[in-house]
Structure formats: structure tokens, C-alpha cells
Symmetry: C2
Subunit: 608 residues, 2 copies
């Protein structure tokens, strides 16, 4: 039996907390937080949300994601009402070094993910729900609090399609339809049926409710938890600024807080608040977390002509026994990225994410936060579709391995739209993201393994065409390392490269050698972090560095080397500088002046 | 009266063309092209598509966008059947320097936009339809050929929402539901009603049709063109590989072509083909293009403490008379980006694009291709949401001005999710994209104007907080220029910066001067292209360069300067290197070591 009166009192307390926290902070999203109080209070304290407050990491806790991250004051206030945060700490909202940041981050122990860039909560929720239903096979639910404005984000509709496809009945969204966006009415205002029809048409269970009638909210959650075969969306009609009369449903208050005087007026409206009550959260069932053991036969990797993209697929299979937490996601190109090799051998750990890269990246965040190691692939070019999600993943300190195939102009005839030419630059911008670019079978396998061992985001760039083997199976590869493939005391220059252009550099080496010209060749398989020592030594000893990459000139391998140099030397970046187009791979490498012949010419220029 | 027999014959011819072109090319998307032949042939030659073939740029031509860009062989073959491309040229498909690239580019005179990254066609179509309905006020229609697989892309659902909102009845999508994606069945297979229900729920007119019954297709187009108040989606049940028995509805043929032997088998199946017939395309109505003259009163710009984001908004108004082709788009943050200032003064040229950045960027591509100058704004951080669309815009050689506000950690308390820290790196990767970062009111106004004058993509980074005026109104600013703000014969170092950190550098200058230490200070308001001359002169004369940016270290202002240097000197990049968080702006600048004090310390280190 739900204690409606208690929830109403707790809601008052939560409103009080939101008010004092934001007023003290001098900024924050007051009205956006106020509108969803009863929805969250009923969830938390009505027995629908199950959690061990002392153990945020408990594997069978329900999950709550604030997709409308700007309602963070509500999140923090909820947990204060649950007696896990003090009123004093609430007053540190938005202060430097506070656990209570402007939008939730993992500094706050009860934030499931860093949010604040809208439209990302449902995808993250998908990752957690997929994990619960299909991998860990645990009964926890994932709740996602959504704003109405953010429902225009395409990523939400990707999630809505995918969640229905995977029958994620353990995913419950709650849309706070307060009708007002940042600068005026939202697309549908308070037209609840607009949301209802649309989401229903995608195969979700849809439940509508008033946002403040606790009895109605209670039956909504009850009903939601009975659904067995489809995800659930609770759509609540709410009022922005609810609870403070001069704010309710008024435009112009988004992101604004009250002055001391206004706060006092609001407090008068609130009347007496029982600051001593606290809410109890229902405990989750105690269940063991058992990993299903999956037997896997390794696949032999040839090192003769084979593409690194194919070795990637094989490597996933071969390392799985050592890393049974691996989950593989792909965006309908698994026959191109070769994630399909893993899909064939270990289908229960592969999830087709369809042509919806944003949702795929968000799901990877969710899976990573639930302790899995997601390997996420598509064409390198199409990973740019998910840059905002990839950007946000760094703020959740995730352990995602992004893999982009079809790098560069060397993919050939498909042309520019399919060519990854900015992916190295994109991933380099992420704090603490490792960027790897292996050039043959052996190094690909070993670096995929290193990526799995390493905690943190990793990007691996793979090549479309078959390339020759370079390394023997005995060679070792380390994050932050490089390989000096050719060197002598008489090198007149160093060519630093990776991937397809490394092979061009090796071919150039052979031709130059015949003419008596020696160059050093370095395989920079780890672009970030970079082997500063080897690169500077090469600068000191050979006085000239030429970098070559099948990638645009800005932010890529060349600029990474340049930034690492603290030695004076001649420096030249060979990269894609002309409009890319269809053509044969080697025609395009020549056209873009990143081929064997271009390298030879650059080296010879140094001699004249 | 439609000549069904003629369309059937033309369809045969088109199939023949697709077959020979892809077989000769040795690659290409044969089956994806074959499935939509009748749909396109009926559109083109049934009198529904109106176009002056000799004048691709005619302002009242209907527009056809191949969102499923990989069906380019169909696009090219259609125009061959319309007698504008020769059979001989068809055989150059995918060859280096051919006009007929793997995915359509503007090299092909009848491609409306470069496509190939899925899910982008409908947004581009929105831009063109908005232009026709609300700006140029012309009666042309925009047709978009869509694949079924790509309907999972969130960007399509952003477009579907926005198109309904703007009542774009002049936008007609045609989904080729062939049920097979790249590696197997699509999400809904051949369940036409799945698409029907979903799209209908968003307020579109939905018409279903068989993909090969020309009579039915004809009535579908007839009906589509009668709709007055909502966009139209024709959903066609088709067969991948239609027309070649051994390919029809078979998985595994995506992106594959036939061998010579297989081609001959197919030709036998085709039977006799009349290669002499050509189709006629109906002419559009001859209408004048008249620009509605909009009178605008300029807004005086103060140069004392004012934010560059606010000056951006004012500048849009003030330059409009000189650039009446300007159209402004914003993603529901116009009160933050200050695009709202333009919205208030010139509402007919402002389009709210809601929280759907991918569609906004796609619409900008469409508007640019129809001769408008789109100024497109959101928080710099949220422009990363649209990186794939931004990437693709360069291949359409667009003239879009992207404007990202709330740059850097200096936005303060909102925290990391809202901070643009990778935007300079992102836009630098685009070929021929200008990257500008003005630091005060005068330079912002002049550079916004320069951006409008300049043909090509431009990115302008704006600051949240108010900053002091630096320049007098007499100063001039050029793309590729810089300003040497402080200099002497005794500068011991040069500090190069822009935006908020430029102001820190100027403050550092004053404090150092008091201590008798002189530094050069350069405002690098044009990061790309960069003023190589001034930067190298500073390196030569002062021997040390310190760059400072409120941006991550990779790919930003620092690496841009480093890449431009061909002079030996000491070099240091100050940038955001630590996990960003909530806090006061100046607290965060200090924490990230990009503040006045950090600059002073770096300079003093040089002295020791």
C-alpha cells in the first residue's frame, strides 16, 4: 500500500531542496527540476525503484538515468530525501570541486552516467537494459527521465526503434511533458496524445498520466512493471515550475533561478516543511551475478595478405575467452567491418544496432557502465555520426573500444562519403582516449588484445584492403609504443606512418635503398599516446621527419607527431589535401600525394 | 494520359544501363539500384517531375535527392534515359575523374547534393522545401528517394517531425522498401504497414504502393501532388535486385556486381531492349524569382563589455540588407546563441529547428544548394551532434556559416556536457572550411560580415561571457589575417590566442610589463586559414611561442600554429588537459592552466 501522504510530504521536501540549492548556486535549472518531482518521488519512495543506497555498484540495483540532465537539482534532492546527501552538501551545487555538478557526472555516486547533452539518455538506457536482459540476465529495470523538448532528437527515435526490436520490457522511460522548451513552447506543447501516438506506433507500451496525481502515477508504474514483451513509456502531463505559483507554466524561466527575495516568497508558498522525513527505497532482490561460460574455438590468423579489418573480427573471437565481458555492437555493416566473424561464433554477445550510430554509441556507454567491454564498429566515416555521444562518453569515464574501418581514400571507388578522413582527429580530442592504427595482422591482433586489457576508451582504425604481413608473432606491441622498422646510421630522413601508407613507406624504402638513399621508417601504431622518445630520437639523428597518413592534414597523425617533437628538424606532413573522389585505391593514393612515389619525391627533395 | 508501355520500356532501358555500368565498373550497388527503377522512371517520365534538363540550375526545377546514395547507378541511368548522359559515359562509372562517382557528388550536374552517408537526404530535402515554400515562394517540389534500412537513422525522424511542423507539402519522400539491408533483413523487412503507421503518426500523408505496378505508382504520385498541408511519404513494396531473376530478394548481393558471364545471363533475361527510346521530362512552370525586399533597421553595437555571442546576433541583423539571401537556423537555443535577435527583427528568415542538430545541418545543406546563405547556430558542443552532416557538407561545396557558442570551460557552472572543447578541431578537418574566433564586438561584427561575403563553409566560435572591447571601428579584419596587439623589439616570447584566453593574454601582458618583461600578443582570429607570415615572423623575432586556447590540446589553435611554423623556436601549447567540471569561469581557467596567471608563469619559465 503506497503511502500517498508520505510521498506528498517528501515531494515538498524535495522542492525545498531544489529551491535552496539552486538559489545558493545562483544558476541551474529550477523550473525543469520542479516539474518532475512527483514522478521521481513516487518512483523512488513508492517502492518501484529498487536500490541498495549504500552500494551504488550493486549489480542488481535498478538504474535511473536523467536524460534531461539539466534537472540535476532534482536528482541530487531525491537522494537527499533518501538520506544519502546532506542539506549542507546540496548547497555546494555547481561549485568548483563539488560532487554536485551543473549536469550529472560520475562524481555523484548515484548518477548512472554523465548526461546534459540532450537525447542521449534513452540510448544509454538501452545499453543497460540489453545487459540486464540478455547478458547478465538480471531482473533490474532501467528508468530514464526524459524531457519533452529532447524528444525531437533523432537519437531518441533510434533508441525507440531498437528498444522495441529487442523487446526491452525492462526499459521504462518517463517523459516530463511540461510543454516549455528553452525558449518557448515545444513542438507539441501539452498535446500528450501527440507523444502517445508516435511512441505507440513504434511498438512501445504507452501509459499516460497526470504528473502530480500520485495515485495515478502509482498505477502507471504498477502497470509499467507488469509489461513483459515491450519497452514502456510513461508520458506525464506536467507543469514547468510546478509548486511555485509565479513560475508555473511561465515562459522565460528556463535555466533561471530565484533571488533571495523570490526564494523567500516561494518558501512562504511552501508553508511548513517537515525537514526530518526521509524516504525509504525498496531493496532489490539478492541475486548472484553469474557469467555464462561460453566456449570458443580460436581462429588461426594468417599474416600474409589479409586486411586489418578482417583480423579485427578474428581477434575479437580469439580474445573472448580471456575477456568474457566483451560485447560487440555494429551498425549494419558487420560484413564490412568483419564484426560478423564474432557474430557467427558468439552470437549471444553480438548486438546488431542497425543503421543508427548515435544509439549504438549511447548503448555502448550503458554497457560499459555496467561493466562490459563494448567493441563498437562501423565505417570510420560513420562514427562521426556519433561524435556527440562519443564526446559525452569521456565524461562517463567509459571503457569503449571504437573501431572504424574503411579508413582513407584508399577504400577506392565508393568515393568520399564512405572515406574516413577525420576520425583520427576526432578521437584524438577525447581526454585519455587511446588511438591505435595497426598495419598488419599480427599487430592488429596484439593491439586489439591490448585494447581489451587497457581500461579506457580506445579507437582502432582499420584498413579495407588486404595488406602484407610485417611482423612475426613474437613481436610485442604496447600502448604508447612504436616500431622502428628500418633504420641505419645513415638515414637522411625518417618517414613516420601507419596503416596503408606505412606499406607505401616500406615500398619507398626499398626503391630508395636501391639508389643508395637510406631512410628510417617508423610504424606509429599508437598515435595517442605517442612514443615521444622514438620520435625525438629520429628527429635528432636523421634531422628530417616526413609523416604520411591516409587522413586529412588537420589533427591527425602528422600533427600528433609535430606536437610530440621537442627537437628541431625539418618537418613535412603528407596527408589528404585535395577533394577526395572515386577511383582505384592506388590511383587515389598518388592523386593525394601520399603514395610510395610521393614519399620518394619528398625524400629526394631533401637531397637537393 | 500516362504512357505505361513507354515507362515499362524505359525501365528496361534503365535496368540495362545499370547492369552494364556496374559490371564494367566492377563495383557498385546493383541490387539497390534495380529495386527502385519503376518508381523513378514513373516520376521522371510520367510527368510528375518537372525539370529543364539543359538548365540544372533553373530556380523552379523540381529537386530529386538520392538519400540512398548508393543507388547512384540508377540516378545516372535515369538521366541517360532522359538523353542527357551517353551510354559511353555510363561505362566510366566509378573511374578516377569520372563525373559518375560511386555515390553522387556535384560533379554530376543532376545530383542535387553529395550523398552516400545514409539518413541525410530527408534533412537536405527539408532545406530545399523550406526554401521553396517560405523564402523563394516557388512551386517546385522536392522528391527524396529513401532506402528502408536508412529509416532507422535518427536524422530521418528529426526531419519527419520538422517537415510536418512546417507543413512542407512540397516535400515528397519515396521509400524503396526492398526488405534487405547490407547484411540481411532490415528491421521491419517487407512489413509496409510498420512504416505506414509510424510515419503517419508524425502527421505525414502516407501512400502505399506496389513498386512495379506503374498504374498504382502513377496514382500515388498524382495523389501526392494534391496534398496541400503536410509532407507526403510514398512507401513502395519493392524487391532488391528486381529484374534479374537470380538476384531478386536474395541476401548477400548488397554492393556486389555481376561478372561478364552473369551479365550476359541477365541480358538474355532482359530480352530485346530498345536502346533508342528516350524519355521526356515535363517542363516546370516559368516563374520569376523575386526576392521579397525586407527593410531592416540596424542595431547599434556597443563595444564595451559585451559577449561575442550577442554581437553575433546583432551582426546578423545589421548585415542582412547587404546579404538578403541569409537564412538563420538555430536548435532551440536562440536565446543563448543570440540568433533570437535576428529572429525578432527578421522572423520570416529565421527557422526554429528544435533540438535536432543533424536535421538542422542537413537543412542548411539544402538551403545552401538553393543559393541561400545559412547561418546555423547552437552551443559549440552540440554541433558535434551533426559532425557527419557537417562532414558531408564539404562534399557538396556548401556555403554554410556554422556558429558555435558557449566555447570552452569558461562557460562555468553548467559543466562539461555544455562546453565546446573540440569544435575547432572538428571544423579544421573540413577541406576549405574557414575557422574564425573573434574576441570582441568590433571583430565579431566584421568577421561575421566577412563570413557572409566569403563563398565556402565557415565556422565562427563565440564566447558566453561579456568581454571588453579591443578594437576601434576603423580596424579591418581579413580571412587568413591576424592582429599583432602588443609588440616591441624586446619581446621575449609571443603569446598567440583568441577568444576568452586572448583577454587573459592581454591581462598577462600588463602584469608582465610592470615587471619589465615584454611579450608579443597576437590575436589569431583566423585559425584556418592561418596567418603564416605573422606567426613565423614572431617565431623568428621572439624565439618562443606560447599558444593559449579554451579548447582541448589536439587539433586546435595550438596545433594549427605549430603546423604553420617553419621557423625553429620554443613552442608551448596551453589548452584544456584536465577533466573539465562545474565552477566559476575564472576558477576553471586557472584550473586548466589557461588563465592570465598560467600565461605569466609560462613566460617567466622562459627567463629561468
Amino acid at each position: 500500500m503506497i503511502d500517498i501522504k508520505k510521498i506528498e510530504e517528501l515531494s515538498k521536501l524535495i522542492r525545498y531542496y531544489i529551491l535552496i540549492a539552486t538559489t545558493r548556486a545562483g544558476s541551474g535549472h529550477l523550473t525543469s527540476s520542479l516539474s518532475a518531482v512527483e514522478l521521481m518521488a513516487t518512483l523512488f519512495f513508492g517502492g518501484f525503484f529498487r536500490y541498495r543506497p549504500g552500494e551504488p555498484k550493486y549489480h542488481n540495483n535498478d538504474r535511473l538515468i536523467f536524460s534531461k540532465g539539466h534537472a540535476s537539482p532534482l536528482l541530487y534532492s531525491l537522494w537527499a530525501a533518501a538520506d544519502m546527501i546532506s542539506e549542507e552538501e546540496l548547497l555546494t551545487l555547481r561549485k568548483f570541486n563539488s560532487r554536485l555538478e551543473g549536469h550529472p557526472t560520475l562524481k555523484f555516486p548515484y548518477a548512472e552516467a554523465a548526461t546534459g547533452s540532450l537525447g542521449q539518455g534513452l540510448p544509454i538506457g538501452i545499453g543497460m537494459a540489453l545487459n540486464a536482459k540478455y547478458i547478465d540476465k538480471l531482473p533490474y529495470n532501467t528508468f530514464v527521465l526524459l524531457g519533452d523538448s529532447e524528444m525531437t532528437e533523432g537519437s531518441q527515435w533510434e533508441a525507440i526503434q531498437i528498444a522495441a526490436h529487442y523487446k526491452l520490457n525492462n526499459l521504462i522511460g518517463i517523459i516530463d511533458v511540461n510543454g516549455l522548451g528553452q525558449r518557448g513552447e515545444t513542438l507539441y506543447g501539452h498535446d500528450i496524445s501527440a507523444y502517445e501516438q508516435r511512441i505507440y506506433s513504434f511498438g512501445w507500451e504507452v501509459i499516460t498520466t497526470d504528473g502530480y496525481d500520485i495515485k495515478e502515477i502509482t498505477s502507471s508504474y504498477k502497470r509499467a512493471l507488469l509489461v513483459k514483451d515491450r519497452p514502456v513509456m510513461i508520458i506525464a502531463k506536467t507543469t514547468k515550475g510546478k509548486g511555485i505559483s509565479f513560475l508555473e507554466d511561465k515562459n522565460g524561466w528556463h535555466g533561471k533561478v530565484l533571488s533571495e527575495e523570490q526564494k523567500n516568497l516561494a518558501l512562504i508558498e511552501f508553508g511548513e516543511i517537515n525537514k526530518n522525513i526521509r524516504g525509504k527505497i525498496r531493496k532489490p532482490k539478492a541475486v548472484d551475478l553469474t557469467m555464462e561460460k561460453i566456449e570458443v574455438n580460436e581462429i588461426p590468423i594468417g599474416n600474409e595478405n589479409i586486411s586489418t579489418r578482417k583480423v579485427y573480427g578474428i581477434s575479437l573471437v580469439n580474445i573472448f575467452s580471456e575477456f568474457p565481458n566483451i560485447v560487440v555492437l555494429d551498425a549494419e555493416v558487420s560484413n564490412s567491418t568483419f564484426a560478423e566473424i564474432f557474430k557467427e561464433k558468439i552470437p549471444s554477445r553480438f548486438f546488431e544496432m542497425y543503421i543508427a550510430e548515435q544509439n549504438m554509441a549511447g548503448a555502448a556507454i550503458g554497457l560499459s557502465l555496467r561493466g562490459k567491454i563494448p567493441f563498437v564498429s562501423s565505417f570510420a566515416a560513420f562514427l562521426t555520426r556519433a561524435f556527440d555521444q562519443i564526446r559525452m562518453s569521456q565524461y562517463s569515464n567509459t571503457n569503449i573500444k571504437f573501431v572504424g574501418s574503411h579508413a582513407g581514400v584508399s577504400i577506392g571507388e565508393d568515393g568520399a562519403s564512405q572515406m574516413g578522413l577525420e576520425d583520427i582527429a576526432m578521437f584524438r580530442t577525447l581526454l585519455n582516449c587511446t588511438v591505435l592504427y595497426p598495419s598488419d595482422g599480427v599487430s592488429t591482433f596484439k593491439l586489439v588484445k591490448k585494447a581489451a586489457e587497457h581500461y579506457g576508451n580506445v579507437y582502432i582504425r582499420t584498413t579495407r584492403m588486404d595488406t602484407p604481413g610485417i611482423y612475426s608473432g613474437k613481436e610485442d606491441f604496447v600502448i604508447g609504443g612504436s616500431k622502428m622498422l628500418r633504420s641505419s646510421k645513415n638515414d637522411i630522413a625518417t618517414v613516420i606512418s601507419a596503416g596503408i601508407t606505412l606499406h607505401e613507406a616500406l615500398k619507398a624504402y626499398e626503391e630508395l635503398k636501391i639508389e643508395g638513399v637510406l631512410i628510417r621508417v617508423i610504424d606509429l601504431y599508437s598515435i595517442k599516446p605517442i612514443d615521444k622518445e622514438t620520435v625525438n630520437q629520429a628527429a635528432r639523428e636523421t634531422k628530417s621527419i616526413i609523416t604520411v597518413e591516409d587522413h586529412f592534414a588537420e589533427g591527425g597523425l602528422g600533427e600528433a607527431v609535430l606536437s610530440a617533437l621537442d627537437t628541431q628538424c625539418f618537418f613535412k606532413i603528407l596527408a589528404v589535401r585535395k577533394m577526395p573522389m572515386s577511383g582505384k585505391p592506388f590511383e587515389l593514393l598518388d592523386y593525394e600525394e601520399i603514395s610510395k612515389d610521393s614519399i620518394i619525391m619528398q625524400v629526394k627533395n631533401l637531397l637537393s
